[in-house]
Every structure is written in structure tokens, then in C-alpha cells.
């Protein structure tokens, strides 16, 4: 019976441009990334609110679906949105390996346009990209652009060890950091890749060499808190360089004796909580107004989903909601977009991946016993190959456990 109902719905959708444009929102609303996933949906809703739920004179209808951060569930949810709900544009997914799987899925559905949520794997757009997959947010390697240079030249760190989680996204982060750092002559003496969700870091901490200037840490959420407390307890902690998701509010706000240690930690990413630019402040305030149950400040997930949805709505406005002819006009508009966002102007390259500004921040004390991330530098217009020609960048291979290396 339900099958018949779906058929009828499908037949109805074939009529002219009067019906609303269907926008699919795919995020992880279950599993370990449920909190970031909800924040991603908040980002979509902010963009829709800004446009009054309308673009190009047509109403926008949002249909959400959930994955659990595994590629399987992401493809299943995408299939539901594309094949059953027949969305015109899909925004999502959230995490790196999901993004790669959805990009592959996109190839079989050329009539739908896929726009990334917040997933940041390098390969999604650099390795065998799909014609109808756009990413107006940046990848993990881009997020760390300029951090290596800042660490080497401003902070004077020359020898560094790395502790990171063992999967594609931290590999990208590490590559982003090391590209600059190694080119300047920095050394990464050892890398420790630990499984996601490790609780006991005693053996890792004990093996970290003592003759380093700083420790690069790319761990997220509870992993970061567990590691940092154990690292400090075991004495002689070195200054820290942090991956984009390592020193967020959950770590900075954690109680304990880490304040002195965390002060001076440098990191880089697509957003900076405490940036004083009016557009960013406005974005933060809108977020706080719209969501009583939201986070203290919009996370990079809310930001990425917001930016990507904003791109969709802006391009729809430009083509007056025209999605005919395999969405050709709409895609051209996306390709040529100069998108004004709370974090600067964003455009996409020929692989449809974002070129955007990256923020380098440093943890400072606010004078009342709190810590916050202060913007120390903005690296303008970072592209996916970190400024190198594409062939040269690809010749070094994709980010992995052993790539790059500079002992």
C-alpha cells in the first residue's frame, strides 16, 4: 500500500515548476557524532531562515535523514532522500568517509545535485571527483594551512612528535600541518596513530620522545580530554599544537589544572569562535537567538552546513529556481559563485571544492580564569592543493599513515 502511495507521489512530482524545491538534509543524528549532526541541521535551518524558506521564487521544503557516521548508513540515507523523497538538491553528509561514499553514489544519480555538509576528507573532491558533487566547505588538509609555518617561524618549534586518531580525517589534518612545516625544515620525529575511542594513553605517553619542541595532537572530544589529562599527569609536558577539533569549548571548558598548560596552544581551522569581525558576530548572535538548546557558539559543523546551504539557495536565486535540463543552469551558477559568508568570500575550484580563508588561533587566558581561542592570523584563499600546482601535489600521494613524512 505504501509502495502505491510512493508511486502516486512520484507521478505528482513530474509536473511543472510550481511545486516547492525539495532540499534533502543528511546529517548524523545518531551515534557518536549525534551532537555535531544536530548542529549541522541547525546550520541548514539558519540558511533557510535567512532566505525566508524561499529561493528563486519557489518555496523550499526541507526533508532530513539520518546516518550514524558509517559510509553504509550515509549511502542508505542518501538513497532514501534521492530515490524515495526525490529531493532536487541534497546537502550532506557530516564525516569524511561518509563523504567519499556519497560522492560515489552521486555518480549514479546525475539528475540530482549533491552539496557537501561538513565532511572534510581530501579524497572526496581530489580523487576521481563527481560532476554533480560540490563542496563549499574546506577539507582537513586545508584546515591546517599555514599552521606549520606559524609553528616554525613564530613559535620556533623545530622538532615535533604527532599523536592523532587513526583514520582518514586526522591523516588529512597531519598532511596539512606537515606540508608547510617540513618545507621550512621542521622535523616530525615520530607519529603515534591511536584508535578512535582509546581511553588509556599510558603507553603512548611513555613513548613520546623528550627531545621535541612541541607535540602535535589531533584528537577529538573525549579522546582529547583523556589524552591531555594523562599527558600532563605524567610530567614534563611539551607545548601543544592542536588539530582543528582538539581545543574546542569542551576541552577549554574542562575543569582541572590544565589552564597554564593549554595557554599558548596554537591551532587552525575554518572558523574561530572569538573572531571580532561583524559578520561572524552577527552569525553567532543569530545562532544564539534561533536555538535555545544550541551550543554556546556555532560549531564548525553548523558553519559548514550553513555555508553549503547558503550556496544552494544563492545559486537558486540567481537562476530563478530553474532546475530544468538536468539542473545545468543551477550547477553553472554554483560553479561561478562568489559566496559571501560569515568567514569571508568562498568560491569553488574546477573540482568543485572550496577555496576559503583559514584562521590560525592561539589559546589565551581571558583574565577571569577562562580560556579562549584568539585569532592571530588569517590565511587567505587556501585551495585544496595548499597553493601547490595540482600535479605536484598529487605526485606526493594522498594523506595516509606514512604520507607525508619528514624525520
Amino acid at each position: 500500500m505504501t509502495a502505491a502511495a510512493a508511486l502516486v507521489a512520484g507521478a505528482g512530482a513530474a509536473t511543472a515548476d510550481e511545486h516547492p524545491i525539495k532540499l534533502g538534509g543528511l546529517a548524523t543524528l545518531e551515534g557518536p557524532f549525534a551532537v555535531p549532526g544536530e548542529d549541522g541541521i541547525r546550520g541548514i535551518r539558519m540558511a533557510l531562515e535567512k532566505f525566508g524558506h524561499e529561493a528563486g521564487g519557489r518555496e523550499i521544503e526541507l526533508i532530513t535523514a539520518s546516518s550514524d557516521a558509517s559510509p553504509d548508513s550515509a549511502v542508505n540515507a542518501a538513497r532514501r532522500l534521492v530515490e524515495n523523497d526525490e529531493v532536487d538538491v541534497l546537502v550532506g553528509p557530516l564525516s569524511g568517509s561518509e563523504g567519499i561514499a556519497v560522492k560515489d553514489y552521486a555518480k549514479n544519480h546525475p539528475d540530482t545535485t549533491f552539496v557537501n555538509g561538513s565532511s572534510a576528507a581530501q579524497r572526496t573532491t581530489l580523487d576521481d571527483p563527481s560532476e554533480n558533487f560540490f563542496r563549499f566547505s574546506t577539507d582537513g588538509a586545508q584546515w591546517q594551512a599555514g599552521l606549520g609555518e606559524y609553528a616554525y617561524e613564530e613559535k620556533g618549534y623545530e622538532k615535533v612528535a604527532i599523536v592523532a586518531e587513526d583514520y582518514s580525517f586526522p591523516y588529512s589534518l597531519v598532511m596539512g600541518f606537515m606540508t608547510d612545516f617540513c618545507a621550512l625544515g621542521g622535523q616530525v620525529v615520530e607519529k603515534f596513530y591511536v584508535p578512535l575511542g582509546t581511553r588509556d594513553y599510558a603507553t603512548t605517553v611513555a613513548s613520546i620522545p623528550q627531545d621535541i619542541d612541541a607535540l602535535y595532537v589531533a584528537l577529538g572530544g573525549s579522546d582529547a580530554i583523556n589524552f591531555l589529562s594523562q599527558y600532563q599527569q605524567m610530567g614534563s609536558a611539551k607545548p601543544m599544537i592542536a588539530g582543528s577539533i582538539t581545543v574546542d569549548q569542551s576541552v577549554l571548558g574542562a575543569k582541572g589544572q590544565q589552564r597554564d598548560y593549554l595557554a599558548g596552544t596554537i591551532t587552525a581551522g575554518p572558523i574561530a569562535d572569538n573572531w571580532d569581525d561583524p559578520k561572524w558576530v552577527e552569525f553567532k548572535e543569530t545562532y544564539a537567538e534561533m536555538f535555545d538548546d544550541g551550543l554556546p557558539s556555532p560549531s564548525l559543523f553548523a558553519h559548514a552546513y550553513y555555508v553549503n546551504t547558503l550556496a544552494v539557495l544563492t545559486a537558486l536565486d540567481e537562476v530563478d529556481g530553474d532546475l530544468s535540463n538536468g539542473q545545468q543552469a543551477f550547477r553553472e551558477a554554483l560553479q561561478n559563485l562568489e559566496l559571501e559568508t560569515p568567514t569571508g568570500t568562498i568560491s569553488v575550484d574546477e573540482n568543485r571544492n572550496a577555496v576559503a580563508d583559514i584562521f590560525i588561533t592561539e589559546v589565551v587566558k581571558d583574565g577571569e580564569g577562562g580560556l579562549y581561542n584568539e585569532v592571530v592570523k588569517i590565511v587567505p584563499e587556501v585551495n585544496q592543493t595548499l597553493g601547490q600546482p595540482e600535479e605536484e601535489f598529487l605526485a606526493n600521494g594522498f594523506a595516509s599513515r606514512d604520507n607525508p613524512s619528514c624525520p
Binding site: 509502495a3 502505491a4 557516521a69 559510509p71 524515495n84 579524497r123 587513526d166 599513515r401
Partner: protein, 342 residues
């Protein structure tokens, strides 16, 4: 000469076919006809995502039903065996093996793994079997998660497609559904047949009273290991179909969540008859896809959990048990009516 070969051929095949057809009732024909017509009236999404996926997960559930329902061994490693077959298809596919060799290799290696698992767990029973097979599943999950050279660690493999045979794109919705239906239907009939063979009967006797069977001279362990092997073939075939359907496989496909899902859908449908896992799979997949429409998106997993709780609470034997209860209630009612008439 010819008559002699004919005779032997007849002797070999004749007991199989009638015994397969003996159990066929009118509703079997109706269900088969409905399944054949289904993709012609359903959209692609309903054909593949709901239809074919229910059949595939049902097949993996069927391998668990064979072990748990007939053999009394609740194994949590059936999805692991399926996942191994799926991984092998992806790996051999990348190595560009010929299609038939890839399939035979993947299913046989998965079967060998299933026999090994059976061999390790056959001397245990009840909760200990569950623990051992769960441990194996977890170990396999971490193996594929951390092993880079063979299993490509966190990313797994994507873009896996069925080979083109006879010029048909087997991943297109209609061909894929019929391929799945044919394969799963054959496996289903095979299990029905197996349950009535001497081996199947001995297995059920081993389930009911292993000591008595041992004293009668049956090798209990050998029967259990063999059952694992047969279930491994079914799970392996299911794994191949699953990786083709999803187009990719990664550690998330063989994580603890999906491993438990197979147990849930099998118990949900019922262990008493091979059709149980398929009923369970349909309910499970419909819930998974559409619970989010019934309720607020932050609460939809609660709906799924509540439905499962209600079914298992009211019928420990799953949906099949409900059906059984309904039938006996109807029988009582009609008997009472007849008494009243007299």
C-alpha cells in the same frame, strides 16, 4: 547405456524435487507471484532499498536462523562472515579476478572462516557461544579498521559493482532485484529442504538433547561445525549481494551495530521457521527508513526500540509466534462455534 544413466539420475534427483514441492501451499504461490510482480509496480527505491535489502538481510538472518532455530547455537558472527565475503569481493574485484573465480573464492573463503568459527565455538553452548562469536566479530571489526595493506583500514572500499554478465547491468534496479530474489529464493528452498534431510533432523535432535544424540553414536561437534559451514555459505552469498547493493564496504559495515541488527531482525521475525528472518528484515528496514517520518528526528530511534520491545514482549517467538497464537486462537473459536451449533 542410456537407460542405466537415466535410472541413476532419476534415483538421485527424484527424492529431492517432490520433497521440495511437497510443502508448497497456495499461499506460497501467491507470495512468489507478489514478489515477482513487486518491482514492476514499485519505484526504484522500493525495489532496491526496501525490497532487495530486506531479502539480503533476511538471507543473512536465515543463516542465523539455521544455526539458532535448528542447531540451538545463537551466533553473533553471521554478519562477520557475510562482511568477510563482501570484503573479499571488493579485494578480488580490485585485483581484477574473473567474475566466477571472484565469487567462488569469496564465498569459499567465507565458508572456511565460518567452519573455523564453528570449530572454535561448537563445544560451547548458550551464553558462551554468544560471547565467543561476539568476540570474533569485534576482533574482525578491529582487524579491518586497523589493517591498511589488505582491508584499506577506515575507508574500506567503495565503487564496488557486480560484473556485467550476458551484457546485463546487474546493479540496475530491476535486474538486481530479480538476481537477489532468485538467489535468496534458492537459498530459502535449500534450507527448507535441509531441515527435512537426515542431517537437518539430526541437527534438530542435537539441539534438543545433545547427550542422548552422543550416546546414540552421533558426532555432536561434527554436526554443529557442519551447520556453521552451511550457514557460512548462506551468509557469504548474502555478503556478496550486500556489498553489491551498497556499492561499498568499510569497517562500519561489520561493526557491532550491524552485527546486533542481524540478531534483532531474526529474533523479531521468529526462529521457528525459515520465513521468520525475512519478515523481521522487512519490519526492520521499514522502521529504519520511515521511523524518522513518524516522529521528531531526535527521537526516532526510540520508536524503533519501542516497536521491538512490544513485539518481543507480547511474543517471545517474534512475529511468527504472534501468527501461531492467532491461528490457535482462531482454531479454538471455530471449535467453540461448532460445539455451539451442536
Amino acid at each position: 547405456m542410456a537407460s542405466i544413466t537415466d535410472e541413476t539420475a532419476e534415483k538421485k534427483t527424484s527424492p529431492v524435487l517432490p520433497s521440495l514441492l511437497r510443502g508448497v501451499r497456495w499461499y506460497h504461490v501467491v507470495v512468489a507471484a507478489l514478489l515477482l510482480i513487486y518491482p514492476l509496480i514499485a519505484t526504484d527505491f522500493w525495489t532496491v532499498q526496501i525490497g532487495a535489502q530486506s531479502l539480503i538481510l533476511g538471507l543473512i538472518g536465515l543463516s542465523l536462523m539455521l544455526l539458532a532455530g535448528y542447531g540451538g547455537m545463537v551466533s553473533l558472527s553471521q554478519l562477520t562472515v557475510a562482511g568477510l565475503a563482501g570484503y573479499l569481493v571488493a579485494i578480488f574485484g580490485n585485483a581484477e579476478w574473473p567474475a566466477w573465480l571472484m565469487l567462488v573464492g569469496a564465498v569459499s573463503l567465507a565458508t572456511v572462516a565460518a567452519v573455523l568459527i564453528g570449530w572454535i565455538s561448537a563445544r560451547t553452548s548458550g551464553i558462551y557461544t554468544i560471547m565467543i562469536t561476539l568476540a570474533i566479530s569485534v576482533a574482525f571489526y578491529y582487524l579491518v579498521l586497523q589493517n591498511d595493506p589488505i582491508f584499506n583500514s577506515f575507508n574500506g572500499f567503495s565503487g564496488v559493482r557486480p560484473p556485467e554478465v550476458f551484457g546485463v547491468d546487474w546493479r540496475a534496479p530491476l535486474p538486481f532485484f530479480y538476481l537477489t530474489l532468485a538467489v535468496v529464493g534458492a537459498c530459502y528452498l535449500f534450507v527448507l529442504y535441509l531441515s527435512r534431510t537426515p542431517f537437518g533432523l539430526a541437527l534438530q535432535a542435537v539441539r534438543d538433547n545433545p547427550r542422548r544424540m552422543a550416546s546414540l553414536g552421533f558426532n555432536v561437534t561434527a554436526h554443529r561445525v557442519a551447520a556453521h559451514g552451511v550457514a557460512g555459505v548462506l551468509a557469504g552469498i548474502g555478503g556478496v549481494l550486500l556489498v553489491w547493493q551498497n556499492g561499498q564496504i568499510s569497517p562500519g559495515s561489520v561493526g557491532i551495530g550491524p552485527v546486533i541488527d542481524i540478531l534483532i531482525l531474526t529474533v523479531l521475525g521468529g526462529l521457528a521457521h525459515p520465513v521468520g528472518p525475512f519478515i523481521g528484515a522487512v519490519i526492520f528496514i521499514l522502521m529504519e527508513n520511515f521511523a524518522i517520518d513518524l516522529i521528531d528526528r531526535e527521537r526516532f530511534n526510540t520508536v524503533i526500540g519501542a516497536v521491538f520491545l512490544v513485539i518481543v514482549l507480547f511474543s517471545p517467538d517474534g512475529v511468527l509466534g504472534l501468527w501461531g497464537k492467532l491461528k490457535s486462537w482462531l482454531a479454538r473459536q471455530s471449535a467453540r462455534n461448532r460445539v455451539d451449533q451442536w
